[in-house]
Amino acid sequence: MKRFFVLLLVCMLAVTAVFANGDDESATGSEPATTSAYEKKSIAVVYSTFTDMLGSEFKGSLESLAQYFNIDFHFIETGYNTEEAQAKTDAMFQMDLDGVIFVSPTVATLEAAYKRNIPVIALNEPVDEETGKQLRAYPNYLGGVVNDDYAIGRNAAKALYDAGCRKICISYLTPGTSKNHQDRYDGFKDALKNYPDMIVLSESSSRAQWPAAVKTFAAAFPEMDGLFSTAFSEPGYNAIKKNGLVGKFKLATADISESTADYIDNGVICSISGGQYNKIMLAFAALYNYLYDGTRILDTLGGYSYTPFIQITSSKDYKVYEKYVTGGTNWVYTPQIIEKLIMGINPDMTPEKFDEFCKAYSISQVMSLRSGN
């Protein structure tokens, strides 16, 4: 029986290995590039997980570009263990890579990439100045296409105020964990100065324990009529439903997940920001500019180009968002749109136009781009 069990496991492993083998191009979504006009490139994409909604949308967005640009993408999940993340990053550099898209590169990452002459592009700004200074000193650091997280907080405060909320609570990620969340929090707190009659009852920081925060706030402050959370996820929505809190307060948050539509429909969400899937496609465009002919498109922009989130405040907004931005088959930009952002291919493109394009991200931009294709 034991031998049978071990044999079964080994067979399962072998079958999985055959199906999952990275050398099989169809596994990564990169079809044999017989139709592509471009030279084959290999790009690693490093993110904590590609199995949550944001991660899988990041992956899907890039895979939609793979065939057209003849790219072999390697998706590396670092998880949340710092030592394991570094070990995986070091192992990744053993692959024959042409470039790396790294959500938050460290100096150690840049050093490892520099030794192998691999360009790196970021999706987040460095948390502190010293890191930024050291990163910029590496010639293989191309900068980054990053989100305007500060605007999320600012927009959330306005949305809560406009929805009539005057007694609110704030739930945010443990300080020092993520600059994105810190910016969202700072944006919200700064915007509160414009609404002196909106009172903060309590604040709670945690490592993404959104449901616990909801339950605690609701129990301790029954008068709470608004909640700003720097992010929210399915367990948080479940906590609202299970504790009978639908209709008791309005929620302004970020990061769209599976139940978002339901909670917009039932009136819980008054503002949610999301759709940041575009930034990985824009980061790819910036990296491809360099891979194509050495163009460093972000250098004259101070190293970073900022792109907004899409703010959704109604069910109608969400339907449009679902149609044009997300949905698993419909990615934000088509390969042809991305191609126009490559200066070596499109002589009309300039760093300034690239920056304008990044900043103009909205549902209407996506709709008009799609209608032009």
Binding site: K2, F5, V6, L9, V10, M12, L13, T16, A17, F19, A20, N21, G22, D23, A27, T28, F50, T51, K59, H74, F75, I76, E77, G79, Y80, N81, T82, E83, E84, Q86, A87, K88, D90, A91, M92, Q94, M95, T106, V107, A108, E111, V127, D128, E129, E130, T131, Q134, T174, P175, G176, T177, K179, Q182
Partner: protein
């Protein structure tokens, strides 16, 4: 005549079992190495990657050198991840913000780690709190402190990476590893300090009745763990180059996985061997490295990792200990 035969047969059986127990953890390591040599088409053996492997196994092996003393007496410390993070913060703060020399920074890291581990030891020994609970409390304290301190320092502190390249040299790390593993092996297998830990894990009452202070030796084990975590924290800091509120996270799980993969008995005792922890650490490092180099579709990585782990454990883990435990509980 018949009695002698039975005796001889039992002795042979015991010898065969001991031999098997000595070989099995190596079998897991060999199995995983061969597997990844095949699937990575030999890339895992590149010189560059061997340096990566040394770098990757360094922290876990170093921390394991201390953890073996605690786990051998049946204790545990669930706080070493956040303790390592706090030790890293103190070290980087002393060096980068206060401008103190590097050796003082290392001393700072070692002191903090020893203090935190000693608190876990004291709470479990003096207050009779289960080490799991005690270490969870300390984990919260150290993680909280790290969070507050990093926030005050502007989110994170970054090392002047160019100044610390020497500490990332594979040769230096290799030497430190050899010295620490050698010292750990000697202390654990050849001196009273290690032997008594195993004896406590087997039956602490007997040890007490033999006139040996169980409390003292348990405490010493936690201090050794703290020392090793402090040294590991320094090197982890120089490797990653940045200290933030998530620094050190997950080290405690790595240690536990290494323990299982190496075939280390979970309740400690006489079957505990120093090499089990080290082998487990190496196996785990090769697993992480190999899975990344294999280039698997990311959706399959967890599935394959799970399958590999269960195959490895079924090959290397000494299940007779589990049988004994279940018989006793019956």
């Amino acid at each position: 005549m018949e009695e002698r035969d039975i005796q001889k047969e039992l002795e042979n059986k015991a010898k065969r079992k001991e031999l098997l127990m000595n070989i099995l953890p190596f079998a897991g390591l060999i199995l995983i190495t061969v597997f990844f040599i095949i699937v990575t088409k030999g890339r895992i053996l590149r010189v560059d990657n061997l340096a990566n492997l040394v770098n990757s196994m360094f922290t876990i092996t170093l921390a394991s050198c201390g953890a073996v003393f605690v786990y051998a007496h049946g204790g545990l410390d669930f706080s070493i991840g956040s303790t390592s993070g706090l030790a890293q913060f103190i070290c980087i703060f002393m060096i980068m913000k206060l401008g103190l020399p590097v050796p003082l920074g290392i001393l700072g890291a070692v002191f903090i780690a020893m203090a935190a581990c000693s608190i876990v030891g004291l709470a479990s020994i003096k207050l009779h709190i289960h080490p799991f609970v005690a270490s969870l409390c300390v984990k919260n304290i150290t993680a909280g402190l790290l969070s507050v301190l990093t926030q005050k320092a502007g989110g994170q502190i970054t090392l002047d990476y160019s100044r610390f390249k020497i500490f990332n040299s594979v040769w230096l790390k290799g030497m430190v590893l050899v010295v620490m593993v050698g010292l750990g092996f000697y202390l654990f297998e050849r001196t009273k300090l290690g032997k008594i830990q195993k004896a406590i894990g087997g039956n602490s009452r007997t040890v007490e009745q033999a006139g040996i202070s169980v409390r003292k030796y348990k405490m010493l084990a936690y201090m050794v763990l703290g020392f090793c975590v402090g040294i590991a924290a320094f090197f982890q800091m120089t490797r990653i180059g940045t200290v933030s509120s998530s620094s050190g996270s997950g080290l405690e799980f790595d240690i536990m996985i290494a323990m299982v993969l190496g075939g280390f008995p979970m309740s400690g005792g006489s079957a505990a061997k120093f090499r089990q922890f080290v082998l487990g650490g190496i196996t785990m490092t090769i697993l992480t490295n190999g899975l990344t180099m294999w280039g698997l579709d990311v959706s399959y990585v967890s599935l394959v990792k799970g399958l590999l782990l269960i195959v490895l454990v079924s090959v290397s883990y000494d299940r007779s200990i589990m049988k004994q435990v279940s018989i006793i509980s019956l």
